[in-house]
């Protein structure tokens, strides 16, 4: 019995270590690449631990005023992505949460059917929409603007908001709302004063997922933006790691900076993420 237990422990900690290495190694290497000198990066045999480490690339990205440099593009693109993620999140919640509430209270059958229709839009490949979207944004004078992308992103984030939040609203016991009615609250008051505060954890989860979705999107941003006015960080990284991936270290530094906001959000707010995933997995 004791021997078996020992084996089990070895397997457990071995597995945990293996998982940790599997998960961390590539990202750690990206970080090392971003601080190692070019001589270290191009060395053979490779120096795993850089002989000359430098934070210069980060400094350049954050401070350069040379508007023609990749570093400058990265900084502006990071800022654009931040604005875009914030805008898309706020708009998606503003349109998605009331809709979710309506779909949660409209009757189970209709609510489910309608939610399915919203979610079905997720199955379409973006390529099916892109040319027509380009035309629509052009006619609204929103091409190559952050506002235009906010609108497009909302179209695929809002269904997700509806899906998650409807689940939350359904889990609120109706007795509580009944009581509010008896006290003379209108339906809107009930939503605003009762249902919304009660579903706060769900809202937090939804915000996190919305931010991450907006931050990650690439295809629409690639086609619908062209200048620094709206270029997002994935687009900037794709451009500089395409044909002209020469300064590997700088692209790695850009990558680390681009990864930082979503990774930090995920690490700091992991409790809410897991709650959101539970809602997704269990309530389907």
């Amino acid at each position: 019995m004791k021997k078996g237990n020992g084996l089990r422990l070895v397997a457990l900690y071995g597995g945990a270590l293996l998982t940790a290495v599997f998960v961390l190694a590539p990202f750690v290497w990206l970080f090392i690449s971003s601080v190692a000198s070019n001589a270290d990066l191009l060395s053979r045999p490779l120096h795993w631990w850089p002989q000359h480490a430098t934070l210069q690339r980060y400094l350049t990205i954050l401070t350069t005023t040379d508007m023609n440099s990749a570093a400058y593009t990265f900084r502006i693109a990071l800022w654009n992505s931040l604005r875009l993620a914030a805008g898309a999140t706020v708009l998606s919640l503003a349109v998605g949460v009331p809709a979710a509430y309506a779909l949660a209270r409209i009757g189970v059958r209709w609510g489910r059917v309608a939610t399915f229709f919203f979610l079905a839009t997720y199955m379409l490949p973006p390529i099916a929409l892109i040319v027509a979207l380009y035309i629509i944004l052009g006619s609204l004078h929103l091409r190559d603007t952050v506002s235009g992308l906010v609108l497009v992103y909302t179209s695929f984030i809002a269904p997700y908001v509806i899906w998650i939040m409807r689940g939350y609203f359904l889990s609120i016991p109706t007795e509580i709302e009944e009581a509010a009615f008896v006290d003379g609250c209108s339906r809107f008051d009930t939503f605003w004063r009762i249902a919304l505060p009660l579903s706060l954890p769900g809202l937090v989860t939804t915000v996190i997922f919305a931010v991450l979705m907006a931050w990650d999107e690439f295809f629409y941003a690639m086609i619908l933006t062209s200048s620094l006015a709206a270029k997002t960080i994935p687009v900037a990284i794709a451009e500089f790691s395409g044909q002209h991936m020469v300064d590997y270290g700088l692209v790695a530094a850009g990558g680390v900076l681009a990864a930082l906001p979503p990774v930090l959000i995920a690490l700091l707010l992991q409790r809410y993420i897991i709650q959101g995933l539970v809602a997704g997995a269990v309530k389907g």
């Binding site: 457990l12 503003a94 379409l124 909302t154 690439f218 995920a266």
Partner: protein
């Protein structure tokens, strides 16, 4: 529940409020998606090739010629391969990871947090990172395997079609396995402990408990992971674009990438629209099968 329902649907002002609540979402999602969708649908029945004047109605010809084109089926085949292998690996590794994280051990909390990193990493950064790791001349993978004595020469990991496809899959699996693991972990925690005890009393060993208790209870989690990953994998574009651009020798050209080149390199927008619809149809078909499975699960 039923009384609330009546209230909402029964009174007139309630109905109006419901519409007011729904209208903005309908406007945005269907305004941005439905109009382009209808437009594309119409386009898919026309010969709309920008380099050839005119835009005649051709009926189903775009669909038929796509379906009879070997390039289409090759791209489809690669997409199925990508979907099957990546989703399969993600489910297996994700399950193992979830079972591990469901155990009690020191550092369990930290590890649960760490596995969020790959998932949170933007897809484009992920693709760029792996391309750098695979780099034929300076890549970390080459360095590692050479220094371990496993290979004698630096190898071009994205250099041959078959190898490139598998290496792209590795990058995708690395990023998406944690998501599956978290979904399954959440699901694992809903299994009542008594069931395991009961199974043990009935004489089931570890494997028996896994097969008769864990797996059946994990069905919803597995199905949701399967649906999500299949849809995403079938639409795969970003990671191909950043890592290989469909090459070498079209070895990583998936259906989404093929559609993209048809529309944008060849300016055949009618054909591109038809291809996009064919892809969507495949996805909807797969999803319907999956949803049927989930439904049965919910009612049984």
């Amino acid at each position: 529940m039923s009384s609330t329902q009546k209230r909402w649907s029964g009174r007139r002002e309630e109905l109006i409020l419901a519409l007011v609540f729904l209208a903005p979402a309908l406007l945005v999602t269907f305004g941005v998606i439905f109009i382009p969708l209808a437009e594309q649908f119409w386009t898919s029945f026309h010969r709309y090739t920008l380099t050839i004047p005119g835009r005649p109605f051709v009926g189903l010809q775009n669909y038929l010629s796509a379906l009879s084109d070997p390039t289409f089926w090759q791209a489809m085949g690669r997409t199925f391969y990508f979907t099957l292998v990546s989703t399969g690996l993600e489910l297996i590794l994700g399950l193992l990871m979830a079972l591990l994280l469901n155990q009690r051990f020191r550092g369990q909390g930290v590890l649960r947090a760490l596995i969020l990193i790959p998932w949170a990493l933007p897809t484009i950064v992920n693709g760029m990172m792996w391309r750098w790791i695979y780099n034929a001349d300076y890549g970390a993978l080459n360095a590692l395997l050479t220094q371990l004595g496993l290979i004698s020469h630096y190898h071009d990991w994205l250099g041959s079609p078959w190898m490139a496809m598998n290496m792209v899959i590795v990058a995708d699996v690395w990023k998406m396995t944690p998501l599956v693991a978290l979904l399954l972990l959440a699901n694992l925690q809903t299994i009542p402990g008594e069931l395991y005890e009961a199974a043990s009393i009935d004489g089931a060993g570890a494997i028996g408990r896994f097969v008769y208790v864990t797996l059946p209870w994990l069905r919803p989690g597995l199905l949701v992971s399967l649906v999500l990953r299949t849809i995403e994998a079938f639409k795969v574009f970003d990671i191909i674009f950043i890592m290989t651009r469909g090459g070498p020798a079209n070895g990583t050209q998936t259906i989404a990438y093929y559609t993209y080149t048809q529309a944008f390199s060849s300016l055949q927008f009618g054909r591109g629209a038809a291809l996009a619809y064919l892809t969507a149809m495949f996805i909807v078909l797969l999803s319907l099968v999956y949803f049927r499975l989930i439904r049965e699960d919910v009612y049984s």
